[in-house]
């Protein structure tokens, strides 16, 4: 299968959604499951193929779309397609158990979101990256607001405004690049980035930094993020946290290393990542709204990822990628469980965590929590220790101390939730889980445990991805092969 289908299939499905709706709700839901399943299986097939691979096809020459899949993007592709698959399965239950008047709208934008985020990580043309960036953006604004309720719309509007700012920065940066070098091919830009007038280079770098950093929720550009998470539905938050934020993160660091910005900006990004981590974990302590709480938690984890990914050392980056994968799975798990609880209790107070009675949900939720906290034998532990080990190997002890100290703050609210869950004095209501959710949540939980006890399953890919990120020769060769 050509890489182009990664983009085309979701788009086609997205456009066909109203038609599927006419065929019936099961066709609609089934189509999405089918799509994400195909994409996921296809991605699994790529794990056995020698990479990078390229697919190129023209829309209107000379503007063609060229996709390059290297090991770095493969890891993200795996995460995205897997998360998408899980969410689409989950939605089978969700729309059955809840109001489904907005179902069509959700699937349109869900498929579009997949198209956009996958396109963003596969595209080797910075302008196409921008286009996919916008597609992802528009579909996530729409997903935030798809219920057309007050909070959702507010979230959508806020997201849209922030997205517009980010896109202006990115457009500006791309224009400046084109004016300076006359190309939008990432490979060529990477080769010739050093030829740019230093003052303009700083401007371009900063604009890209602000543009993608805003979307990737880096402090101090992330004041909007908790609002969006609070306003959106829980499963949408799962998508934001597992797919959307990660795709921006991908572009951020892909360009960061390709353009050789790592020599100059490492310290800046690391310290901003650290501040993100610190501020969000502290802020999370006071939250009363469960979705907002986990928004802060997501911000915090992204902060760690920023710290680790910017660190320039292959050990840390490999750990960070592991952590990223683990975080995606765990957060998805948590948000999906929260979705079940919220749809039961019609409330988003943190106390709902203490009100339900379901052994299965408690166990998977606790697994998710412990994994994010980095407690063995769950996958988050391996991620965290790999990151810390990487920092230790580069003798960056301040980062280690920082991460560990702030992690204690993180533990405060996670264990407050767990204590709430274990509190026997609360009256508990039993919660229907749904057959599909048993499967989805157990798969996620099992993966968390599996990566925790048998990490080489994943470290294999993260190591390859790290190599691909830090030594992008083969990527560049392929990217340069694209005529433009």
């Amino acid at each position: 299968m050509s890489l182009g289908y990664y983009f085309l299939l979701p788009v086609i499905f997205s456009f066909l959604t109203p038609y599927f709706r006419k065929l019936g709700t099961s066709a609609l839901r089934g189509s999405s499951v089918f799509l994400t399943f195909i994409l996921f299986v296809q991605t699994l097939e790529y794990t056995g193929v020698s990479l990078p691979q390229i697919s190129q096809f023209s829309v209107a020459p000379p503007i063609g779309i060229a996709f390059v899949l290297d090991n770095f993007s493969l890891l993200f592709l795996l995460i995205f397609t897997f998360s998408g698959f899980m969410v689409s399965l989950y939605m089978l239950w969700y729309f059955k158990a809840n109001d489904n008047t907005n179902e069509t709208r959700f699937y349109v934008f869900f498929n579009m979101l997949l198209a956009g985020s996958i396109g963003m990580i596969l595209s080797c043309d910075i302008f196409n990256v921008y286009i996919f960036f916008e597609i992802t953006g528009i579909s996530s604004y729409a997903l935030a607001a798809y219920n057309k309720d007050k909070l959702g719309l507010e979230a959508g509007i806020k997201y849209l405004i922030i997205g517009s700012i980010a896109s202006i920065f990115i457009v500006f940066a791309i224009m400046l690049i084109y004016l300076q070098i006359g190309t939008v091919n990432i490979g060529l830009i990477a080769q010739r980035y050093s030829e740019i007038d230093p003052k303009i280079a700083v401007l371009i770098a900063l604009m890209l930094f602000i543009g993608f950093g805003t979307k990737a929720e880096l402090f101090p550009m992330n004041f909007w993020a908790p609002d969006i998470y609070q306003g959106s539905s829980s499963h949408v938050n799962g998508l934001f946290s597992a797919i959307v934020a990660k795709s921006y993160l991908f572009v951020f660091f892909h360009l960061f290393y390709l353009f050789g910005l790592n020599t100059k900006y490492t310290l800046l990004i690391m310290s901003l990542g650290a501040i993100t981590f610190l501020v969000s974990e502290f802020t999370a302590l006071n939250q009363k709204d469960i979705k907002r709480l986990f928004a802060y938690s997501t911000l915090g984890q992204l902060g760690i990822l920023f710290m680790a990914l910017a660190s320039n050392s292959s050990d840390t980056i490999s750990g960070a990628l592991f952590h990223l994968a683990s975080h995606s799975i765990s957060k998805l798990l948590i948000f999906l469980v929260l979705g079940i609880l919220i749809s039961k209790f019609k409330s988003t107070k943190i106390t709902i965590v203490g009100d339900f009675k379901s052994l299965f949900l408690s166990i998977v939720l606790i697994i998710g929590f412990l994994s994010i906290l980095g407690i063995p034998p769950f996958s988050g532990f391996i991620g965290k220790i790999l990151i810390l080990k990487g920092f230790a190997l580069s003798h960056n002890y301040i980062a280690i101390a920082f991460i560990l100290l702030v992690s204690i703050v993180e533990a405060v609210y996670f264990f407050r939730l767990i204590a709430l869950m274990l509190d026997k004095k609360r009256t508990k209501t039993s919660v229907p889980v749904g057959f599909v959710n048993y499967i989805v949540l157990s798969v996620l939980a099992i993966l968390i445990v599996l990566f925790g006890v048998y990490p080489s399953l994943l470290t294999h890919y993260t190591d390859l991805a790290t190599n691909a990120l830090l030594q992008p020769h083969s990527y560049l060769q392929f990217a340069l092969g694209v005529g433009l």
């Binding site: 000379p62 507010e154 509007i157 500006f172 224009m175």
Partner: protein, 125 residues
């Protein structure tokens, strides 16, 4: 005198200054306006400024539009088509965002009667 205006440098200068002025107007709008529609308009002004800037800088005096109609097979004397294609795409995207934003705004206004973005603060701690 006219030659002065016909030189590339002058045109580029005027375009740069003009579009940056326009950009500043948009920026001013963002900084001061709180009405959602006005904010969206400000964004569009900024975007338009960028489009003008980009297209304008790629226009050199004496070149024609890059339209291939089949009769002329030589691609000389044309402006670089890439920026134009890019801007076209960006305009489409900008339009989509604008439309989405306005529809959000309308829906939100219907529900709450608020169109001031600084008063949209139901989502907070």
């Amino acid at each position: 005198m006219l030659d002065f205006f016909n030189s590339n440098e002058t045109i580029h200068f005027i375009i740069t200054v003009g579009s940056m002025l326009l950009f500043t107007i948009g920026l001013y709008g963002i900084f001061t306006q709180k009405n959602l529609v006005k904010v969206l308009i400000s964004f569009d002004i900024m975007e338009s400024a960028l489009f003008l800037f980009f297209i304008g800088l790629h226009y050199n005096f004496g070149l024609v539009a890059p339209i291939v109609d089949g009769s002329d097979k030589t691609f000389t004397n044309m402006v670089d088509p890439v920026p134009q294609a890019m801007i076209l795409t960006t305009i489409v995207i900008g339009l989509a965002v604008l439309a989405l934003g306005l529809s959000f705004g309308i829906e939100y206004f219907r529900l709450t009667g608020i169109n001031d973005i600084s008063k949209m603060n139901e989502l907070r701690d």
